[in-house]
Structure formats: C-alpha cells, structure tokens
Symmetry: C2
Subunit: 142 residues, 2 copies
C-alpha cells in the first residue's frame, strides 16, 4: 500500500474512460452513489454535468458535501477518493464546454460535439467539485 | 438504456474482480465512498469484510443504511446499484468463510486460504447487505 503523488493521481483520474462514483447524502440522511462521467481539469477542479431538474441536483443544492471515488479493479488495485464541496454553475457556454469535453472522453472525439449539444442545453448544470481532501492509494494489497 | 433482468445483474455483480463502491453517511452527515471487495451470494445477500475497529464499522453500526454501485467503465456502460441495510456479523467461522471466498475472487484461488486467514481473524466482521432496492441499467448511452 503506497500513497500516490499528485501527478500520479491526476494521471489516474484522467486515464481512459474511468468513471467516478459520486456519493451524496439524500435529505432523508440515506446515502446514495452513482457513476458519473467527469473531467479533472488543470485548475484542480473535478467537473461533471447533471440536469437542473434531477434528484441529484436537488440533493447537491441542499447539501454541497460530496465524495467521489475512482478505482482500479484489478491488481495492483488502487483508488483515488476526492472529498469536497460542490458549486452548481448554470452558465450555458460553460455547460456546453464541459459537456463537450466529457463527450470526447467517454464517447470518443468524433462524438464530442454531438454529446456537447445533447448534454449542454439550458436545462443542464456543471457541477464543480472543489476538493477539500484527496486520498490516493496504489498497490492496495502490497 | 435498458434495465437488466435479475440473472443479468447477478452475473454482472459476479463478473471478474469488479469492486463495489460503498457509500455511507458519516455521523457528521457527510457522505463517503470506498471500494470494497465483495461476494454476491445465492441467498441474495451481498457480503464483505471489515475490521471491527474501523471508521467504516462504527459508521455502519450507527446507521445501517448503505448504497453500493458496481459499474462497467466502457461502452456499452452499465451499472448496478444496491440500496439496503446492513447487519454486522461477528461469528468467526462465517468471517473466515467470507474472507476466503473474497480472497479467491480478488487474489486468485491459490491465495484464497492465505487471504482468509489474514482477513478472517477475531478482529474482523462480515457486513451483510440486505437489499431493499436494486437498480440495474445497461446500454446507458443507447
């Protein structure tokens, strides 16, 4: 078990089509967890899109505290957990920018624009996760 | 986007070395999420091990509500989310049985016994997750 350096965990978060598993506390106090497509950007902010009128957006507006984990599901097993607080952004050009970047990552660059249009509309948000704590471990079993 | 049948989601949960991402609500109300090695057993209960004296065990004793998600991080993208309540089991033979099954799944059958000994001690628990709701979706982008 070994902590990753910052450059290692940034590379880890950005590798391929890894998804983040987003945990939020619902108003009832019950936890929930959902895979999200995301980008980790050079300003050290993790961003993803969600619809304005979704249970996820309402939960995040009520309680901005989140945790996300990205992991490697085979030896040497590794994970990065990001704890932070969210800021919800409604600016349409920014929503479209992030949706296009996410489309390129997960659907392929040839479909980035299409995805940006589909998920970059006026009824979408950018969720910015501003990290307060990052735990990044590799060689979990070593 | 298409719901999986029960037999599809059981196969999905059991495939390879997929990990579950366990979300719990901490006593502060903050969510957290951690990858866990698990087995989905024929009685429809998801089981994993944890140490008796861990933050995870204390959180679960204080609030038994959990959610876990297992996902496929490439096309066609898919996920299974299990919401449920946990029961903490201290019975040593059962702890050892589950630790050995988990060792076989994630470390390989040749290391299952070793892992069972290491993670099947008196200071370990079995966490049983009794599902109250399962959401299983495949072809997420279709």
């Amino acid at each position: 078990m070994r902590p990753m350096t910052e450059s290692e965990y940034v590379d880890f978060l950005r590798a391929g089509t890894r998804t983040a598993k987003l945990a939020v506390t619902l108003p009832s106090g019950r936890p929930t967890v959902t895979p999200v497509w995301f980008v980790w950007e050079d300003d050290g902010v993790l961003r993803f899109n969600t619809g304005i009128d979704t249970a996820k957006a309402r939960s995040l507006a009520a309680d901005p505290r989140v945790a996300l984990v990205v992991d490697l599901e085979e030896p040497p097993y590794a994970f990065v957990r990001v704890e932070g607080e969210v800021r919800l952004v409604r600016d349409p050009p920014e929503v479209r920018r992030v949706a296009t970047a996410i489309g390129g990552r997960y659907m392929g660059l040839d479909r980035a624009e299409e995805f940006g249009r589909r998920n970059g509309g006026d009824d979408e948000l950018v969720v910015e996760v501003h990290p307060t704590k990052i735990v990044a471990i590799t060689d979990v079993t070593g």
